[in-house]
Amino acid sequence: MLEMTINDKACRGCQLCLDVCPTQCFSFDVNTSKARVAILENCIGCLSCAFICPSGAISHKHHHEVKNFYRNIEFSLRMERFL
């Protein structure tokens, strides 16, 4: 089961996570001026919130992590001519 937590001390209340989340997982607590995880079931694990958070306050656990293509030096040298 996917877990998502917001570090309260780190959250600055910028609401970028609310803006970027495509499934409205977050809500904003006006009293504390901090973001809250409202609907965890809606999280698709895109990790955009974690990437966009300026203070790195959002973390995920037990999500499917995509392994990006690794860097192949030999190939990169060849590609430099095209890029």
Binding site: P22, I39, N42, S48, V66, M79, F82
Partner: protein, 164 residues
């Protein structure tokens, strides 16, 4: 093991080259780049699904697309997604079209785009739209679109819309 690594390396190099190619043609062709890749994806979808089982059930059709991808060794994992406040997996929009949200996780396009810092939602992403459109056109006999709702770093959310 060596054989798997060799295959992965080949796939990676091909995809990285595709990403560079699409990023290169976009400034030159403009919107035409997306049309080109969309058309290529649609043709591929039609070809791959030529022998697929015909159905009008959207869930069955999507499952059939998954089988087609698997049968052709395309690791393009996707799964239907239902937000908590939505009652059914398949909804209808104002035009009476059937809609369904799909989450794409392992995507070789995203993996290659991020490798070289190319932006997402470009012409190469349209190839997947084309593939679904072509495959569902064959399986269901209806026009389909796959709109990118969100292109994330680890997963993408897309809306599949089928006429009727």
């Amino acid at each position: 093991m060596e054989e798997i690594l060799k295959k992965r390396r080949t796939l990676q190099e091909t995809m990285n080259f595709m990403a560079a190619l699409s990023a290169g043609i976009e400034p030159i062709l403009g919107r035409g780049a997306s049309s080109m890749t969309m058309s290529a994806g649609r043709n591929l979808g039609r070809k791959f699904s030529a022998a697929a089982r015909r159905t009008d059930d959207l869930l069955e059709a999507v499952e059939e697309v998954r089988n087609i991808l698997l049968a052709n060794s395309c690791l393009w994992g996707f799964e239907p997604f239902k937000p908590k406040d939505q009652e059914e997996l398949i909804t209808r929009n104002g035009k009476g079209q059937r809609q369904m949200l799909l989450v794409f996780r392992d995507c070789m396009i995203r993996q290659s785009l991020l490798r070289f810092g190319h932006p997402q939602q470009g012409s190469l992403c349209n190839m997947m739209y084309g593939f679904f459109a072509g495959a569902l056109e064959t399986i269901m006999g209806k026009k389909a679109t796959l709109e990118i709702r969100h292109a994330g770093e680890n997963a993408c959310l897309k809306m599949l819309t089928v006429e009727g």
